[in-house]
């Protein structure tokens, strides 16, 4: 049986003070496991972007990380507005962020494309009015 490690984190929508904690925790876990620094950086960027998406747009989410000797997978399952057009959201520069969000330096329309760039596999499932589930996979070797 392959050894694996899982841990879950709660992310609160609109809580900008706590924003980034889950991805920081994940980074610390990966460092303890001796994962290569370049891989940790990709995970850090992908999970941070995903966490910020929840904080900006959703009510709450569960972020679950699973590490096996071969890969790191992160599932972010949120209760939120959902993404009407995933293909459009994947385009760089497209954003539904409000003026306030943009003034704070968010909403450049780089979130999802940035997650994709840093993952080996990305699955997005979304239901309007219910929420979005993102599965990020980054292989270790």
């Amino acid at each position: 049986m392959a050894m694996h490690y899982t841990q879950s984190f709660m992310i609160e929508g609109r809580n900008f003070l706590a924003a980034g904690r889950a991805s920081a925790e994940i980074k610390s876990i990966l460092k303890q496991l001796g994962i290569d620094a370049a891989i940790i950086r990709r995970v850090a960027i992908a999970t941070f972007e995903a966490e910020m998406n929840v904080v900006m747009y959703a009510q709450r989410a569960v972020m679950m990380i699973e590490v096996t000797p071969r890969a790191i997978s992160v599932i972010i399952d949120d209760q939120g507005p959902g993404i009407p057009d995933i293909n459009l959201a994947m385009q760089e520069g497209y954003s539904t962020a409000t003026v306030e969000m943009r003034e704070m330096g968010f909403g450049a329309g780089l979130g999802l494309p940035n997650i994709k760039r840093n993952s080996d596999d990305l699955k997005i499932m979304s239901t309007i009015g219910k929420g979005t589930k993102i599965e990020i996979t980054i292989s270790i070797n």
Binding site: M3, I45, F48
Partner: protein
């Protein structure tokens, strides 16, 4: 215990009533030196006798030194006083800071490397990056420190002037912090340092104070330029022309900024000046003067002498082109030992650590000798601490043992009346 709690990288453990240092975690920031109520932590600086091997000695005081004495004491007077307390000569380093500022500006203007660039002049910050942010090593600007530049200049000048060999001249840096000292002993890049030893500002303060009474200020040849401002927070940034620069003081803020950079943010920032001490070098743990008073003095000096440059910009740019300021070699990462070198085993140990952590009180009392419950769990899993070191776990064990004992006793006490009855006639 105070040192264990304050250590920003959790490098101190208290075992058997004594504090021990985990070298792989320590970044030489000096916080423990500052807080120890018993003055039990003493950084290893040099003393005059260590320099008897040299034919000629030159003191290079950190420009922090200029802020340590009363307000009418000018840098030139301090340099003169140093020549009286046993050094053959004294050489200013603030001017080298100005040269380095020009070199940084050239680098920012011409090199297209990942932004933001990070200042490499606080050795504690460089070590923090080596240990915890190996991804950010490429952000460190590869430019030599003013300390090294000044030491090299001082040696070359004296070699020409006196016809001595390099090995015959000893350059001693007067340091505001233990980090600088360790950067000379164990430089992050394998290279030769032009500094041969260090003396803490706090150790040389009294002799200079004495010598200053015999020194007068003639006003000529005063140290000038924006390099004078380098010892305070924002001093480096103020000496640059570039916009979009930040100055960060203190390790907790440094960690936050580095996390942001690692998460892919702050790419529009050009340069970040980072110091492990919250007030930058005037707040170093081997300084004497109150750091806020020192800061005020630096600001006054900059006001008075900062606007007159001490270096010819074009000359420095020429030297920059000839790689006069570049640091050869790469800074290696020195990551912390993971739970296990084998990922599968590390995963198992992480699982065990988590299970063990759940049994802990999670109040970070420190009585076990580790700074936090999380750290204690890691120490136990790595075999560097015993589970019973936790007083709460020991209490639980004790409760189990004592309730077992009680039960045994009760069983016996039930038997005792029975036997005593049987003895009754």
């Amino acid at each position: 215990m105070a040192c264990m709690r304050i250590c920003p990288t959790q490098a101190i453990r208290v075992r058997g009533k004594k504090a021990t240092l985990l070298n792989d975690r320590c970044i030489d920031c000096g916080e423990c030196v500052r807080i120890c109520p018993n003055n039990a932590i003493i950084p290893q600086t040099s003393s005059f006798s260590d320099f008897s091997q040299f034919k000629y000695t030159v003191a290079v005081p950190s420009p922090v030194m200029y802020s340590q004495f009363r307000k009418n004491v000018m840098p030139s007077m301090i340099l003169a006083a140093l020549r009286k307390v046993g050094f053959d000569d004294a050489y200013d380093a603030a001017c080298a800071s100005e040269s380095v500022s020009i070199a940084i500006q050239e680098y920012l203007d011409s090199v297209d490397s990942p932004r933001p660039l990070i200042s490499p002049f606080c050795p504690a910050i460089v070590r923090l990056i080596q240990i915890r942010y190996p991804n950010l090593i490429d952000h460190l600007i590869p430019i030599e420190s003013p300390m090294e530049i000044a030491a090299r200049e001082a040696k070359h000048i004296k070699m020409q002037e006196l016809g001595l060999k390099e090995s015959e001249i000893g350059v001693i840096y007067l340091t505001p912090c233990p980090a600088k000292m360790l950067a000379i002993k164990h430089p992050p890049r394998k290279k030769h340092s032009f500094v041969d030893g260090t003396i803490a500002i706090s150790d040389i303060y009294a002799p200079i104070l004495q010598a200053l009474t015999e020194t007068s200020h003639n006003g000529d040849g005063e140290v000038r330029g924006l390099g004078l401002g380098w010892p305070i927070l924002g001093g480096q940034v103020a000496s640059l022309k570039a916009e979009d620069c930040l100055a960060i003081g203190g390790l907790s803020d440094a960690v936050r900024i580095f996390d942001d950079i690692e998460n892919g943010k702050l790419r529009d920032i050009q340069y970040i000046e980072v110091h492990s001490c919250p007030t930058s070098c005037v707040g170093g743990s081997l300084t004497v003067e109150n750091k806020y008073i020192a800061r005020g003095r630096v600001l006054r000096m900059v006001q008075k002498y900062g606007s007159q440059p001490c270096q010819d910009r074009e000359k420095i740019r020429g030297l920059y082109q000839k790689n006069f300021f570049s640091l050869p070699g790469k800074i290696p990462p020195v990551p912390l030992q993971p739970l296990d070198n084998d990922v599968s085993k590390a995963l198992q140990k992480l699982h065990q650590k988590q299970l063990f952590y759940e049994r802990l009180p999670k109040i970070d009392c420190g009585a076990c000798g580790s700074p936090t419950c999380t750290m204690f769990a890691e120490d136990v899993i790595k075999g560097n601490a015993a589970a019973e070191d936790c007083v709460f776990l020991a209490m639980k064990n004790f409760e189990v043992i004592s309730s077992n004992l009680l039960q045994t006793l009760q069983k016996h006490s039930q038997k005792i009346p029975a036997t005593s009855e049987s003895v009754k006639p």
